[in-house]
Symmetry: C2
Subunit: 146 residues, 2 copies
DNA sequence: TACAACTCGATTGTGCACAATTGAATTGGC
DNA sequence: GCCAATTCAATTGTGCACAATCGAGTTGTA
């Protein structure tokens, strides 16, 4: 096996799968007016109700250069509000608006639809999830060492 | 399991793995002056020597909106040349320059280094590769149907 | 041969991602 | 209490990704 052959590289498979997933989400999320990264932010907010930009970055592994403009777009869409934490003026808290809270109901059917598009069963997806989590951890640790 | 819980979604695992991989490649490719997508283009060229923008798009599943500026940067870096196909003026052929050809030697050690960073063995990676290829195919077919 | 349909690359506009920098606010050491 | 170090969000700049559109060039067909 030629190690520089594109088709032999698992890395490209990860990259390609990620983009294919983006495309499916793009279609499914169009009706909600969300992009996939915006949807990820909403997932965190639906779980926790309120979260600082900092914690959002930790949860999604995104920095403020990505989150700041993204959150402004969500605020412009009327789904979230942003305000300084009175207890620590350095921190900005992101909260759901009533509209943002209501949107959750329309997002409920999404995971099932994505699962169907994946053509994989729950066990297989759970397995993939475990493998990829381990891969991500290794890669992140490797990057941190360098 | 709450289907809208971030940590439970295999999709997010794919997304996260893809970005972690990008980060490792960014570090490894810095010395070559390439980004990961640029490296992918070079892989195809090292395999085939010459390829049309169209075929490049098919191989990498990228459209001209992504490839055109990317190829211009590679050309500005002196790694490729672009010229119209004399046989079909609609087509643009991308070729390696001597510098581009030479760069291959410096890219040879990369796959091994990435594999080490992944913390996974060849068998496991091959397995992941198969699973992700199947996932990508399902997702792409699903997107095409809609 | 004329002309409609198609192919192909380029461009434009929007959004994500990250590095580097900035500036405000807080915290810890003294 | 004061000042240096740290934390945090925002901004800027570069590059990737895709949708939509355009125009040049080619091909199929009447």
């Amino acid at each position: 096996m030629d190690t520089l052959r594109l088709d032999d590289q698992a890395c490209f498979a990860v990259h390609a799968a990620s983009r294919a997933l983006d495309a499916v989400y793009r279609r499914e999320l169009a009706a909600l007016g969300l992009t996939y990264p915006q949807y990820l932010v909403m997932l965190v907010l639906w779980e926790r109700g309120q979260v600082s930009v900092k914690d959002l970055g930790v949860a999604l592994r995104l920095d403020s250069g990505t989150l700041s403009p993204l959150l402004k777009r969500l605020e412009a869409a009327g789904l979230v509000r942003r305000e300084r934490d009175p207890g620590d003026e350095r921190s900005v808290l992101v909260r759901l608006t009533p509209e943002g809270t209501l949107l959750r109901a329309r997002a409920e059917p999404l995971p099932r639809r994505i699962m169907e598009a994946s053509g994989m069963g729950p066990d297989e997806l759970a397995d993939l999830h475990r493998t990829l989590s381990r891969l991500t951890r290794s890669l992140t640790e490797s990057a941190a060492r360098a």
